[in-house]
């Protein structure tokens, strides 16, 4: 037993920093997707199970845009930065568009008819199946790999671990988007109406908040972040019609881990999940990476049933 731990701590010592960096990168992606779940939950008390396909739409859109723009060229320097921007924007735009469409087609008719919560769930699953099968039919059921957008070499080292360009790109893009979102929700009029609807939809509407518009905005923001995250995810993992399933499930886990409905909780949950998953491979086999993630979730929920930061989009954020 002692041998087991000393040998594993030996590997951990060697691998800790690179695994931590890799884990933080997937953490940022989980966080951006988790926001989509958390915002919609905060406002509608509903888990948008079609979010995985909103993610996938962003992946495909940015793939096709980037491929068309790059052609056969070998981008570097400023071109690479512009292309990353283009990928984030096109992924975000497609994600936002599909999210708004899903809200229109799958949720709004139910809301008008005051349908029970279970109906939303089925509607969401239906939308999800429809979208990923449509993508499989239209784009083929195989993996597309992005053309090279930037040269992925180590940029600097932390404690001997080379930090690659990809991680830098994910971290910078992630931080910019998450901080912008946090400020928008905390300070702007738009954010105030989102928080007001989350707290008490009826009172908010009496105070003159347009509920339908606020809900559309919520889907739009969540979809944009999810679509942009799909671009960052796809750079290394490729794009395929089923690409949304696993990352979205993880992001949902992250949202619950941090406290669903809580934006900062979603970010914390995402980063934590990414890091735990990544570090777990040093202790157990690679095949247990998903088991480790859900073990942590169960343990946290045992002690804090509402997640690390608790459910509270309405109150602070």
């Amino acid at each position: 037993m002692i041998n087991y731990f000393t040998s594993h701590f030996d590997t951990l010592r060697l691998e800790f920093w690179p695994l931590l960096v890799g884990g933080l990168a997937s953490g940022f992606i989980y966080a951006m997707v988790a926001i989509g779940y958390t915002l919609v939950y905060g406002v509608l008390r509903l888990i948008n199970f079609a979010h995985s396909e909103i993610f996938m739409s962003g992946g495909f859109a940015s793939y096709f845009v980037i491929r068309a723009v790059i052609g056969t060229s070998q981008p570097s320097g400023l071109e690479s930065i512009l292309l990353i921007g283009l990928g984030v924007v096109s992924g975000g735009a497609a994600g936002a568009l599909v999210a708004v469409l899903v809200e229109r087609v799958a949720y709004r008719p139910l809301r008008r008819r005051k349908a029970p919560a279970l109906a939303y769930l089925i509607s969401a699953i239906g939308a999800s199946y429809f979208l990923f099968n449509l993508a499989g039919k239209e784009f083929g059921r195989y993996l597309y790999a992005y053309p090279t957008i930037f040269v992925n070499h180590p940029v600097f080292t932390i404690f001997g671990a080379g930090v690659q360009m990809y991680y830098v790109v994910v971290a910078i893009a992630g931080v910019i988007m998450l901080i912008t979102l946090d400020r928008v929700v905390a300070k702007s009029k738009l954010g105030r109406s989102v928080r007001a609807v989350a707290q008490d939809a009826e009172t908010a509407s009496l105070m003159g908040v347009n509920i339908d518009r606020t809900i559309v905005v919520t889907f739009l923001i969540g979809g944009a972040l999810g679509g942009a995250a799909a671009f960052l995810y796809g750079i290394t993992s490729g794009v395929i019609y089923t690409m949304g399933f696993t990352p979205a499930l993880k992001a949902f886990t992250a949202a619950v881990l941090g406290g669903i409905g809580n934006i900062r909780g979603a970010v914390l949950g995402g980063l934590l999940l990414g890091v735990v998953e990544s570090l777990s491979v040093a202790f157990v086999q690679g095949s247990y990476i998903d088991v480790a993630a859900f073990t942590v979730l169960v343990l946290v929920l045992l002690f804090r049933p509402t997640g690390i930061l608790g459910e509270r989009l309405g109150r602070s954020a």
Partner: protein
């Protein structure tokens, strides 16, 4: 009234049934006397899904062999193809096998293509006495040693391939510490285990690990697992890496290894031997210098007129269409066996087991060489394992064992 109505309905229905069956019987006997009977040769493999390319390589070769037989052999029967798409998945293949078994004109199967799918489908084929001649299912454990096995294959098992790969890595490439990863599939884990064991016995130190098939490639794991995998491989200081699995996941691993700056010798088996490995790797240059192996003349291609005809059917070139040549041979072996046992008015139920027996006696000179089966379904010939390498985005042959 209610009763009378239901009686009337029943009466109408039964007379309708009679009317429908009578002409059908008449038709069947008429066509039996006049035209040649039609038999179906099935193909089971992945035709959609992330590993579809391997299956498409095969099914067009099966179609080509059937077309040629119908055109040139002047056979006393017609042949047609029915394809059963199992996406290479062990969970989908039983349903496909069951539907093949119930096809009333089906006499034998080319395939199944993937080892895990084959293991899951074999009980159905075996119970129905249907010969399955696989062009590509290489897992060692599939050749059960059962007498007159209905499973046969025109490629060597992974015990042969894995041993040759280990020797190539440890002896030819002087790898002293080897990292062995598998994808958790029946095929990948089996091949990786053989490589690990053989490399150990040749004196290399071996670190085995398993990363299940990712969500990007038909599995359920996070594709980001390969980032962690690459980190571990680099940190382990291993000078060589063997991957047991298919090209889709291997491409993702190669991308991650490239980012992590891994410099060792990288090799994989026949599951990764496809041009789709290069198009599925980002950046494509990350696949450069990777070694790939395939057993049993597996890199043999259809050539000359066959290649032209193949291209006309498939719309992709025959060179590098891994397992097309094997599928062509497997189909022709089934046709040859069927020709031997066919008698006028013989039923499909009698043909099926007769074909198994005939295949076990058959010696066939195909495009991949002289082929005959042992009683366990493995090839008789001493097998050569071919090695190739990705060079500047092309798969180039670099010799054999």
């Amino acid at each position: 009234m209610k009763l009378r109505l239901s009686k009337t309905v029943a009466g109408v229905a039964s007379s309708a049934l009679l009317l429908m069956t009578v002409p059908a019987i008449g038709l069947a006997s008429a066509s039996g006397a006049a035209a040649k009977p039609t038999f179906t040769i099935g193909y089971e493999g992945p035709l959609t899904g992330s590993n579809a390319q391997l299956g498409l390589n095969m099914v067009f070769a099966v179609q080509l062999a059937i077309n040629n037989a119908n055109k040139t052999h002047a056979l006393p029967f017609n042949l047609k193809l029915a394809s059963y798409d199992d996406q290479g998945s062990p969970t989908l293949s039983p349903a496909q096998a069951s539907s093949a078994v119930h096809n009333k004109t089906l006499v034998a199967i080319v395939g199944p293509a993937f080892s895990g799918a084959t293991r899951a489908a074999e009980p159905y084929y075996s119970a129905a006495h249907i010969a399955t001649v696989s062009p590509s299912a290489t897992a060692a454990a599939l050749a059960t040693g059962k007498k007159n096995n209905n499973f046969m294959r025109v490629v060597a098992g992974d015990d042969v391939q894995g041993a040759a790969d280990a020797k190539f890595l440890v002896k030819t490439k002087s790898v002293k510490s080897l990292y062995v990863i598998d994808d958790g599939s029946f095929y990948g884990a089996g091949l990786a285990a053989v490589v690990a064991q053989e490399a150990k016995s040749l004196g290399a130190s071996v670190t085995p690990n398993s990363y299940p098939e990712s969500g990007s490639c038909g599995g359920t794991a996070s594709a980001s697992e390969y980032t962690a995998a690459a980190t571990q491989i680099v940190a382990s200081g291993a000078t060589g890496l063997f991957y047991g699995g298919y090209y889709c996941d291997f491409g993702l691993l190669l991308g991650a290894l490239n980012s992590a700056g891994y410099k060792g010798v990288v090799m994989s088996g026949d599951g990764s031997l496809s041009p789709a490995l290069i198009t599925g790797t980002s950046p494509a240059s990350a696949a450069n210098n990777v070694y790939l192996s395939v057993a049993g003349g597996g890199s043999a291609n259809l050539t000359g007129k066959l290649a032209t005809a193949y291209r006309a059917l498939s719309h992709f070139p025959a060179n590098n269409a891994t397992y097309a040549a094997q599928s062509y041979d497997a189909t022709n072996m089934i046709i040859a066996a069927l020709k031997k046992v066919y008698k006028a008015k013989i039923s499909v139920a009698k043909l099926r087991p007769a074909i198994i027996t005939a295949l076990h006696k058959l010696v066939y000179h195909g495009v991949t060489g002289k082929l005959s089966f042992q009683s366990n379904g493995d090839l008789n010939a001493k097998t050569i394992v071919d090695f190739s390498q990705v060079q500047n985005g092309q798969i180039v042959s670099v010799g054999h064992s």
